[in-house]
C-alpha cells in the first residue's frame, strides 16, 4: 500500500493511544482491590465502598467496579455518592497498586471499607443508581475512566438491601486512580 501520491495531510502520523487509567498506572497511581465477603439478609443491610479520607489531599477517580453475588437469589445494590454510611466499616487489606514494578509498591490514600448486618441506611449524599445482580454471577462495570470523582471526606458506596429472610454473601471489587488535588 502506497500513500505517496496522496496529499501530505493524508499521510497521518501513527500515535499510541493510552487510556487515562493506564497512564496513571504507569505513574503508580492506579489501584485495584476488593472488600471482604459482605453478608446481609433477615432485615439487615450491608455496604461496601471506597472512602476518600479527610485530609488525603487526593481526588479519587473511579474506573471500574464489580459485584459478585455468591447466593442463589438476585440482589439489589444501590449506588450512593458522598453519603454518611451507617457503621464505621471494616478496612479491607485486599488491595494493590496496578504497577508492581515500582519498589516499594505505592500505597493508596483511599480505603476500601465494608460493613455487614446493619439495620440503618445511608444518610445524606445522593442515591445515584441501582443495579440488580443475578444469582451466582459477577456483574462488571468497566471503563468509567474517572467519570466519578470523589474528593477527600467523600465516598462511593454500594448499599445492599436486605432480601426477606435468606442470607446473601457478596463481594465488591474496585479499580481507581488518585490525583493530587
Amino acid at each position: 500500500m502506497s500513500l505517496i501520491l496522496m496529499k501530505k495531510e493524508k499521510q497521518p502520523k501513527k500515535v499510541i493511544v493510552l487510556s487515562n487509567a493506564v497512564y496513571h498506572s504507569y505513574l503508580g497511581e492506579y489501584f485495584l482491590g476488593q472488600t471482604d465477603v459482605i453478608t446481609f439478609g433477615g432485615g439487615y443491610n450491608a455496604w461496601g465502598g471506597l472512602i476518600n479520607p479527610i485530609g488525603s489531599n487526593v481526588n479519587l477517580f473511579l474506573n471500574a467496579y464489580t459485584i459478585s453475588n455468591f447466593s442463589n437469589q438476585p440482589l439489589t445494590a444501590e449506588g450512593w455518592l458522598s453519603s454518611v454510611l451507617p457503621d464505621k466499616g471494616k478496612i479491607s487489606a485486599y488491595f494493590a497498586a496496578g504497577n508492581q514494578s515500582i519498589t516499594p509498591p505505592p500505597i493508596p490514600k483511599v480505603q476500601i471499607k465494608n460493613a455487614s448486618f446493619i439495620s440503618k441506611t445511608p444518610i445524606g449524599g445522593t442515591y445515584t443508581f441501582v443495579r440488580r445482580v443475578e444469582p451466582n454471577q459477577t456483574l462488571t462495570k468497566h471503563d468509567f475512566q474517572g467519570m466519578y470523582i470523589i474528593p477527600p471526606g467523600s465516598s462511593f458506596a454500594l448499599f445492599f438491601l436486605s432480601p426477606d429472610k435468606e442470607q446473601v454473601n457478596a463481594q465488591i471489587a474496585f479499580g481507581w486512580w488518585e490525583e493530587k488535588e
Binding site: 499510541i16 493511544v17 493506564v22 498506572s25 485486599y94 494493590a96 508492581q100 514494578s101
Partner: protein, 178 residues
C-alpha cells in the same frame, strides 16, 4: 492564514498499546492445561516474571473456561508464590506469527491442579464467578497491571461443591525492556 485553516484538525492513526506491542513481536498468549479442582481441591495458573529478566510484563486479558455444570470462583492474585510442583505451560506463543524465528517470552506460565495448599504470598485483588459451560473473557486491561521482575499475575480456581470441575485459564500480556 485564514481562521478556517487554524482550526484544521490533524489526522492521526490510532494504535492501541496491545496492537503496537503485537506488531513488535512482544505480545504473548499463554494457556494452561485442563485444570481439575473442586471437592476441597484448588487449581492455579499464572505468569511469573523471573528475577533479573530485564523486562516488565504489561498484563492485558484473562479468560477462564468452565467445562462443568456448576459455577465456580476465580480469584485474581498479584505476586502469589507458585507451588514448587507447578508445571511449565508449553502452550505459549507470540500473537504475531509473522516473525521468524518466533519471539520467546521472558515470562513463564505455570499451573497446578488438585492442590490442597493455600496461597501464602501476594494479594487477592478481585474475583469473578464463572457460570457453567461458559468462557469468561475479561476486559482489556491495556497494560494497567504491570508486573516487575520477581512478581507474578495469577488466578486461583475454587469451588465449594463436592463435584470435580475442569477449567482452563488463558492469559495475554506484552513485555517491555526496563
Amino acid at each position: 492564514m485564514s481562521s478556517k485553516m487554524r482550526i484544521q484538525p490533524i489526522e492521526v492513526v490510532d494504535i492501541t498499546s496491545p496492537t503496537m506491542n503485537s506488531m513488535l513481536g512482544r505480545y504473548f498468549i499463554g494457556q494452561t492445561g485442563a485444570l481439575s479442582f473442586g471437592n476441597k481441591y484448588t487449581a492455579w495458573g499464572g505468569i511469573v516474571n523471573p528475577p533479573g529478566s530485564g523486562v516488565n510484563l504489561y498484563f492485558d486479558i484473562f479468560t477462564i473456561t468452565n467445562f462443568s455444570n456448576q459455577n465456580f470462583l476465580g480469584e485474581i492474585w498479584l505476586n502469589a508464590k507458585p507451588s514448587s510442583k507447578a508445571t511449565i505451560s508449553s502452550t505459549v506463543t507470540p500473537s504475531n506469527q509473522s516473525i521468524s524465528p518466533p519471539p520467546r517470552p521472558k515470562a513463564v506460565m505455570l499451573y497446578t491442579d488438585y492442590s490442597t495448599k493455600p496461597i501464602t504470598n501476594g494479594t487477592n485483588i478481585f474475583g469473578r464467578i464463572i457460570a457453567p459451560n461458559s468462557t469468561l473473557v475479561s476486559d482489556s486491561h491495556k497494560g494497567s497491571i504491570i508486573i516487575g521482575p520477581g512478581s507474578s499475575f495469577s488466578i486461583l480456581l475454587k469451588s465449594q461443591g463436592p463435584q470435580i470441575i475442569i477449567g482452563t485459564i488463558v492469559l495475554t500480556w506484552w513485555e517491555e525492556k526496563i
